[in-house]
């Protein structure tokens, strides 16, 4: 027992060291920097600069709007896609091909993908050309430099995460549970709402959390597709670190983003738990 516990400790030591060295220490450095002035004095003024400025609140609002909308769109689009892959596709090779198509964009660089979208979404890009050609619009729609453009780029990158987590949850739902529901007099829609969806809720939550945290901290996609006209918090933080070299102010921006993100994820998972309890009373 003693030896095995010691072995366990040794086995844990390496990942623990990596975690400390690469996650906790850098985060600590950022956190400490955010609480000091440039010459090392303790101060809260960096946070004052962030939180007392109306412009920052505007940027925070844009950041969260983009992240929340991406999450919702990814879940709403991802659920039917996952359903298609898990429930409708019978041919295994086609399913595999679909999954590869879905995750293939993840193999290329974020920058390449964003430039791709810049080409597609431009004033004379493929999307506008097609819409004009079909006659759906009379003048080209401006995508670049708008939140819509950024949203398209984010959803494109993040959709696979919801499809995969929801698909995984869907595949684990026993078909006999849905049969039982139908057998007891529930139609297909009622069965989905009462049985299938609640049983895949953890997949939706997992996918949603991944998408939200990746969307809120996204830098490349918003930076390239914004054309400098839309700003998110990650872009502000990057500016401070890379051009202004104000690590203290940049740190405060980063910690602010982190805090808001954690708070929102916390609230949403708490609300889900409450929702489950409410459902129990049904």
């Amino acid at each position: 027992m003693f030896t095995s516990r010691l072995t366990l400790l040794w086995l844990l030591a390496l990942p623990l060291c990596v975690f400390t060295a690469f996650f906790l220490i850098p985060l600590g450095v950022v956190f400490v920097a955010s609480l000091t002035t440039q010459d090392g004095q303790f101060t809260l003024s960096q946070y004052g600069r962030v939180l007392l400025d109306g412009y920052h609140w505007q940027v925070i609002a844009v950041t969260f709007r983009l992240a929340i909308l991406s999450t919702i769109i990814c879940v709403v689009l991802g659920y039917p896609l996952a359903w298609y892959l898990v429930r409708i596709v019978k041919w295994r090779s086609w399913r595999r091909a679909c999954v590869i198509m879905l995750i293939l964009p993840l193999f290329t660089s974020n920058i390449v993908r964003s430039f791709g979208w810049m080409v597609l979404l431009g004033r004379t890009g493929l999307v506008n050309d097609a819409l004009l050609g079909v006659g759906l619009i009379e003048r080209p729609i401006r995508f670049l430099g708008t939140e819509t453009g950024i949203l398209i780029g984010l959803v494109y990158i993040l959709l696979p995460f919801t499809v995969l987590t929801i698909g995984n949850a869907l595949a684990r739902v026993e078909p006999s549970l849905e049969h039982a529901s139908r057998d007891l007099g529930a139609g297909p829609l009622r069965t989905f709402c009462s049985i299938t969806f609640p049983l895949t809720m953890h997949g939706v939550m997992a996918g949603g959390t991944i998408v939200f945290s990746m969307a809120i901290s996204a830098y490349v996609t918003p930076a390239l597709l914004s054309g400098g006209k839309v700003t998110v918090l990650a872009m502000l933080a990057f500016q401070q670190y890379s051009t202004v070299f104000d690590f203290n102010y940049g740190g405060a921006l980063s910690i602010t983003l982190l805090t808001f993100t954690m708070a929102l994820i916390g609230i949403s998972s708490w609300m889900t738990r409450i929702g489950v309890h409410e459902k129990k009373g049904n």
Binding site: L177, H179, R182, L184, R190, K279
Partner: protein
């Protein structure tokens, strides 16, 4: 009165014929078992009746209504699933009141009815629990309560006892039969366990390769099997070559005669044989004594024989001993064709 009529139902999976023009009439209040080895089509037939699978051809009529094209939720029946299929995110009470809720009952009314159904299966106190925290036997009862709460005319049971241990299974067999009589619901019970089917059913439909081989009362199935398959599948059978009249043994197999092991007796001398009995010489190859019954396995020519008797074997019947196997021709049953 016929409650369920199945006409010429067929179902194929690619090249495999799972159901081959099956027809079956089930009376109101009857307990019918679909019995057969795995892959014989019994579960497929149950799914087609329940509406979880559509047949390639044929009709299903319940209580005079053709339900062949109706989805499961519109068929007047309920099902107990093999793995119980209890909803894991709901309590026992929610599981059982799901049916009445869907039938339009208010939440309160549904819960009252669910509680009644749970009382019937002896689980009233378990209502607020999660089914995940229950034993297999308890889950089985919840599944049963959920299936009878809407008082269906027809209950389908897909090997409901197969996951339980032997003791519990024996007890549940009796309880299930009592419940069926008490409620007057027609049961269609799928099983691969012949003892289970024998113990519970009014009639047994023995299935093989997508067809119903024979449908009869348990005793008739045992005493007068129609085919070699039924004879072999239900109990044990000695197959002997007989003349068509069943009075004497034939030299070259003319007709197959079925003789159950308990009707075959072992004699040490030919003059011990009662008048009118038939006999054939055999050599004992093995014998066993299992709690009250003895089994003697013999070889006669290229044929192996099995005799069963009650009590301990006489000491002189040992392996390798030459004996005479005898039987009363009245006990033998000649298979058709």
């Amino acid at each position: 009165m016929t409650l369920l009529a199945i006409h010429d139902v067929s179902k194929s999976f690619s090249s495999h014929r799972a159901l081959d023009r099956v027809s079956l009439d089930v009376m109101q209040g009857e307990f019918i078992s679909l019995l057969g080895p795995s892959g014989c089509g019994k579960t497929t037939l149950l799914r087609v009746i329940g509406g979880f699978m559509s047949a390639d051809g044929g009709r299903i009529i319940i209580d005079g209504q053709d339900v062949s094209s109706l989805p499961p939720e519109r068929r007047p029946l309920n099902t107990v699933f093999q793995n119980y299929a209890l909803f894991p995110h709901m309590t026992v009470l929610e599981n059982v009141s799901y049916g009445p809720r869907r039938a339009g009952a208010s939440r309160k009314e549904a819960e009252v009815r669910a509680q009644e159904a749970l009382e019937m299966v002896g689980l009233a106190a378990m209502a607020p629990r999660s089914p995940r925290a229950m034993s297999g036997g308890q889950q089985q009862r919840v599944a049963l309560a959920r299936a009878i709460v809407n008082k269906p005319k027809l209950l389908l049971l897909d090997e409901p006892l197969s996951a339980l241990d032997l003791q519990l299974r024996k007890r549940m067999q009796i309880e299930l039969k009592q419940l069926q009589v008490q409620l007057g619901i027609t049961f269609i019970f799928v099983t691969h366990d012949q003892d289970e089917a024998m113990a519970m059913s009014d009639r047994i439909a023995v299935m093989s390769a997508g067809r119903i081989e024979q449908i009869d009362e348990p005793e008739t199935i045992y005493r007068r099997p129609r085919t070699r398959f039924v004879a072999d599948f239900i109990g044990e059978a000695n197959i002997l070559p007989m003349q068509k009249d069943g009075r004497s043994l034939a030299r070259d197999a003319a007709f197959d005669g079925v003789l159950r092991p308990e009707n075959l007796r072992v004699f040490t001398r030919a003059d011990g044989l009662p008048d009118g009995w038939l006999s054939l010489p055999a050599t004992v190859s093995a014998s066993t004594y299992v709690g009250g019954t003895s089994n003697i396995y013999m070889v006669s020519g290229d044929r192996s024989l099995h005799a069963r008797s009650y009590g301990v074997l006489p000491g002189d019947i040992r392996e390798g001993v030459e004996i005479i196997a005898g039987f009363d021709p009245a006990d033998i049953h000649i298979l058709e064709g």
